[in-house]
Every structure is written in structure tokens, then in C-alpha cells.
């Protein structure tokens, strides 16, 4: 029944399909993660993507890998306000933590949502002049000449010919396996541990429309991503030096809007906000409590902007912080499958 000739058959290596290990809370509460049909997960694809993610071969002068700015020990971000590229030039955006990307259902990546899938996102840093500043043709060529890569691409994608599309597919496969779902708060929701009084009160503040009111944008016990992956102006500025989403859509109503980050793993991801302006969680909380700045596009959920913010008491601030820290996922940080 099979029409392939013997020769072709010998060439064919079928990669082993990989089943994503989905945290039980995600499986219970959320719709399925997004895995494109033209890039299914395979053992070989993920392993190759991981190797590429940590390999400086992707940068123009061999000094940077993706992990330079996306360090597994820091929830796949870095601790600098802005990250400098291979030429020492700094961008104007804070590096983003990478986890649970397959659950970004709208598939809009970057602070301003300009990349429309994980695959498409991965094209960008390699050639970005203030990041890895390389040329895809040269990178593909270097990989092609490499002693190991051609066979790894063959095993993952059935071809010896390496190009940027396959590189980004492999990296995207690896990125989909970067999952954080086992913080203390996850364990609490699974009934495996209890919260301190402070953490419980902090969670109540987070969920209370009359106090923190954070849940409308940053998830909840029923949305364990702890982000809506959507774009808002949360009152950082009155005028914008960085238009954010507005620069992408061209709609002035989107000026100053940035993607809500997940509030998982904050202890590893400082500094905060798209421009890394806050170096501590206290500063972030003070921002929402007293520091909101009015502007035409501020989100209506920043409801108390005319009073500076939600005006939390010192005790409520401390408890809110305690709750936020209960979303730190040490298992994720130490997951050996995700280290170099």
C-alpha cells in the first residue's frame, strides 16, 4: 500500500510525539494550550529547541544566546532594567519572563503584542540590532556547517537543510514546555497546603473590588495563569515616550497600553513593568495604591485614579505582597529539564 521507495524510507526518521505535561489546575480550569498543527511537539524538536535556546551560535558575534536575557534561574528573564544586545546597545524595554506561553490564547507576544505567535516571535531577537544582531542566512549557514546540528534537524524535522523557519519552530517547541504551575498557592488550591493569615488576607485584597481589585486583569484561583494576556494602560504615565500597543495598531486609543504580565514568580523577575521602572514589589503596590497617573487611555479599572489609587493600608500592602510571593514556583526555577 505504501508508495515510498526503499531509499526514501531509509531516510525517514519519525520523531517521537511529546505530550505536554499540563498542571492539573490548568487542565481543570483552562482551555487547551495552543500547539499549531504545523509544529507539533516532539522529543527531538524540543531537545533541539532547547539546545538552540542556550546556544550563542544564534548571535552575530557568538556572545549571546536567548538565555542571556532569559535566564531559567530568573524565571527566564534577566535582572536588568534594560537588556543590552551584543553591541552593548540597550533597548528601552525590560526583558520578559517566559513561562506558560502556550496558554497565551490570543497569541500576541512582546509587551506591545507585535508578534503574533511564539514561532514568529523567535524570528525577531536573532536579527534585532540591539539584541543578537545576526543575519538569518549566516546563522543558518553556521548551523549547517556545525558538527551536530544537521543530524538533529533531520531527526526533528526530517530534513538536513536548515533554515530560519525550522530554527524558530524548534525554539517554539522548547518554549511551550516552559511551564510554571507549582507554587505554594497552586498547592493551596490543590488542597495540599494552607496559607498564612497574611497570604489569605492578601489574596482577599487582590480579589476584592473595593480594595486591590487586581483580579480583573491578573487572573484568579479560576484563571491560574495570573494574567489576562491582554493590553491595558495601568496608569504609569501621563504622557508616553513608548506608545506600546498604540504603535502597533496605529490607534491612539491604544497608546500607553502594555501586556499584563503574569504575577507568578515575581520574586525572580525584578525589575518590573515594561520599562523596568520599579525595582521592588513594594514600589509596584505603592503605584496601584497611591501612584496612578491619569491619561486619556488609562484603563477604567484603574477606577480610583482621581485619588491616586486604591489607597491600601500599610497592613494590606504587606499582606498583598505576602500573597504575591506565594506565587513563587521554586520547582519551576529548579526544573532540570529547563536548565542548560
Amino acid at each position: 500500500m505504501n508508495c515510498t521507495s526503499k531509499e526514501e524510507k531509509e531516510d525517514l526518521y519519525t520523531p517521537i510525539p511529546y505530550n505536554l505535561k499540563i498542571p492539573t489546575l490548568f487542565a481543570d480550569k483552562l482551555i487547551a494550550p495552543i500547539i499549531p498543527t504545523n509544529n507539533p511537539l516532539t522529543e527531538e524538536g524540543i531537545a533541539l529547541g532547547k539546545k538552540l535556546f542556550f546556544d550563542k551560535i544564534l548571535s552575530g558575534n557568538g556572545t549571546q544566546s536567548c538565555a542571556t536575557c532569559h535566564d531559567p534561574q530568573k524565571a527566564f528573564t534577566d535582572d536588568r532594567q534594560f537588556s543590552d544586545g551584543i553591541d552593548g546597545i540597550f533597548g528601552n524595554r525590560n526583558s520578559m519572563p517566559l513561562f506558560n506561553l502556550a496558554w497565551n490564547f490570543d497569541e500576541r507576544f512582546f509587551w506591545d503584542g507585535r508578534a503574533l505567535s511564539i514561532e514568529r516571535q523567535a524570528f525577531e531577537p536573532v536579527t534585532n540590532p540591539i539584541e543578537m544582531h545576526a543575519n538569518w542566512a549566516i546563522v543558518a549557514n553556521k548551523l549547517q556547517e556545525h558538527s551536530e546540528y544537521p543530524i538533529l534537524f533531520k531527526q526533528a524535522f526530517g530534513t538536513l537543510t536548515i533554515d530560519s523557519t525550522l530554527v524558530t519552530k524548534a525554539i517554539a517547541q522548547f518554549e511551550r514546555t516552559i511551564i510554571s504551575g507549582n507554587s505554594k498557592f497552586d498547592q493551596f488550591l490543590r488542597g495540599e497546603t494552607t496559607l498564612t493569615t497574611e497570604e489569605q488576607n492578601g489574596f482577599d485584597i487582590f480579589m476584592d473590588e473595593a480594595r486591590g481589585d487586581c483580579f480583573h486583569c491578573h487572573g484568579s484561583n479560576n484563571n491560574p495563569l495570573w494574567t489576562d494576556n491582554s493590553f491595558h494602560n495601568n496608569g504609569l504615565d501621563t504622557t508616553f515616550s513608548d506608545l506600546g500597543l498604540g504603535a502597533i495598531t496605529g490607534d491612539p486609543a491604544d497608546n500607553g497600553k502594555f501586556k499584563s504580565p503574569s504575577i507568578r514568580n515575581l520574586v525572580y523577575t525584578a525589575p518590573y513593568m515594561h520599562d523596568g521602572r520599579f525595582s521592588t514589589i513594594e514600589e509596584v503596590i505603592n503605584h496601584y495604591s497611591e501612584g496612578l497617573k491619569p491619561s486619556a487611555t488609562i484603563d477604567p479599572l484603574m477606577k480610583k485614579v482621581n485619588n491616586g489609587g486604591v489607597n491600601l493600608s500599610a497592613k494590606d500592602k504587606a499582606d498583598l505582597k505576602a500573597f504575591l510571593l506565594s506565587l513563587s514556583d521554586l520547582d519551576f526555577i529548579n526544573n532540570s529539564n529547563l536548565q542548560e
Binding site: F105, E209, F215, H216, A253, T297, P300
Partner: protein
């Protein structure tokens, strides 16, 4: 062997014939498209009209609409039922629902705004959780019926925010003993005679949320309305005149 095969073939032919005769006794079922269109007192309103102070409420406040999502459930055309549907005007999603296999006869069109108590079960609808449409458990859990956010010009002509969020009304006077009132409501759009595949327009007049029977004063009721028992009952009362039957094409 051959005999058995021909026997099988016969059975297959026979049963297909039987099915055909069966099916042609009734009128064939039709497909119905429900289309939700939005207006402000009759003037069409789409995402393109968001983010500008172009609407005036009955009470006289000028407003800018920035986010408007609402949920309807138990949507039924005769015996054909869809569990629920989330409409997001800003993102232009959910405003068309297709019903297959609707009986070609007179059918009642009705649905519930929000979730009635028995369907308003905390955390069970994965797509709604993924869309962050939940209600905190301190308010009894379940889901928002509507999230309507925007800005209004206050009495000093300054921008102020409103979060007109409709949920099941909850009285939290005693936080350990919440008292609920089911503020979802049924909309009955009447009986429609179906003679063919059809598209039915359901018209949503957003202005009615601020109008009838309660003239809504945004200077009084603007934010933190979820835990406001009385505000929820006012919203529920006003919602009943929001929905009406529009054009039917078949």
C-alpha cells in the same frame, strides 16, 4: 462467502432506502443564524465607536465605552438549545451564533441574560475562566453577566471611570452568611415562523442600561458595583428592555 456479502449489500441498500423514505416525510431541518447588533437609542454602535465621549446617558452624562462583554445562556430556538455565549463588542467576537438542525416550524426564541443560579457554578466553564470572566468567591463565585467599563464626564467635566459590572446580586452585610438574589433574567423574543434557513437579528440598545425604569446617575453609581446589592437589582431591572427582536431574513 459470496452469499454473505450479497446479503450484507442487500441489507445496506435496504436500510438506506428505509432511511430515505423516513426522512422525506418531515420538512428538512434548517440552519438559523442569531446576530447580535448593538445600538445607542437606535444609532448603530460597534467597536469603532469605543474610546470617545460620544454617547449621552438618560441622566445627561457623556460617556466613552472602552470594554463591553456580556453573557447570555440557555439560548433556545424551539427545541434547539445552546448553553451560553459570550459577546465581546470591543473584540467583535461572539456576536453571531449558528443553530443547526432547527425544526422548520414555529419556534419560540428565548435566552437568559447572565447565568441563572443553577448554571452559575464557580469555575466550571473553561472558556470563561480563560477569558477572566469569573466572580470572586467572596461574592459567591460564578461568573460576571456583563463587564461594561468606560469613562464619564463628572459634574466638574473631569474624566471619571465607571465599571458597570452585572453579577448575581449578593448582600454581604454579614460576610459569613451571604444572601443572594438571582438577578439573571429571561428574555422572550416571541415565536417565529420558520420556512427556510434564517438570520435573526437581536438588537441590543446599550442606552437602556442607564434608562428604564431606573434613570442611572453615574455620579452616584460608578465603580465597586459588584458588591452593591441594590445596584445589582437596579441593573437587572434596567436590562429587561435592552434586548429586542430585529430583522428576520429567510
Amino acid at each position: 462467502m459470496k452469499k454473505i456479502i450479497s446479503f450484507l449489500v442487500l441489507i445496506i441498500i435496504f436500510s438506506t432506502c428505509k432511511n430515505e423514505t423516513d426522512c422525506c416525510v418531515n420538512l428538512s431541518p434548517i440552519t438559523v443564524n442569531l446576530k447580535f447588533t448593538h445600538n445607542w437609542n437606535g444609532v448603530a454602535l460597534t467597536a469603532a465607536d469605543f474610546n470617545s465621549f460620544k454617547f449621552t446617558t438618560e441622566n445627561g452624562e457623556t460617556i466613552s465605552i472602552e470594554r463591553l462583554r456580556y453573557l447570555i445562556s440557555n439560548i433556545s430556538i424551539g427545541n434547539t438549545i445552546k448553553d451560553y455565549n459570550l459577546v465581546n463588542i470591543g473584540e467583535n467576537t461572539g456576536s453571531e451564533i449558528t443553530f443547526e438542525e432547527v425544526n422548520q416550524e414555529s419556534n419560540l426564541l428565548q435566552f437568559t441574560f447572565g447565568f441563572a443560579d443553577e448554571d452559575n457554578i464557580d469555575g466550571v466553564y473553561q472558556d470563561l475562566n480563560s477569558a477572566s470572566f469569573n466572580v470572586p468567591s467572596m461574592l459567591g463565585g460564578g461568573y460576571h453577566f456583563m463587564q461594561f467599563d468606560g469613562k464619564y464626564k463628572d459634574t466638574n467635566n473631569q474624566d471619571a471611570n465607571f465599571n458597570y459590572h452585572a453579577i448575581r446580586a449578593v448582600d454581604r452585610s454579614d460576610p459569613d452568611n451571604l444572601v443572594f438574589e438571582d438577578t439573571s433574567f429571561k428574555i422572550d423574543l416571541g415565536t417565529i415562523d420558520f420556512t427556510n434557513n434564517a438570520t435573526i437579528e437581536v438588537k441590543i440598545n446599550i442606552a437602556e442600561w442607564f434608562k428604564n425604569p431606573n434613570t442611572w446617575d453615574l455620579n452616584e453609581l460608578n465603580t465597586v458595583l459588584m458588591p452593591n446589592f441594590e445596584a445589582q437589582k437596579l441593573m437587572s431591572a434596567n436590562g429587561k428592555s435592552v434586548f429586542s427582536l430585529g430583522e428576520i431574513t429567510q
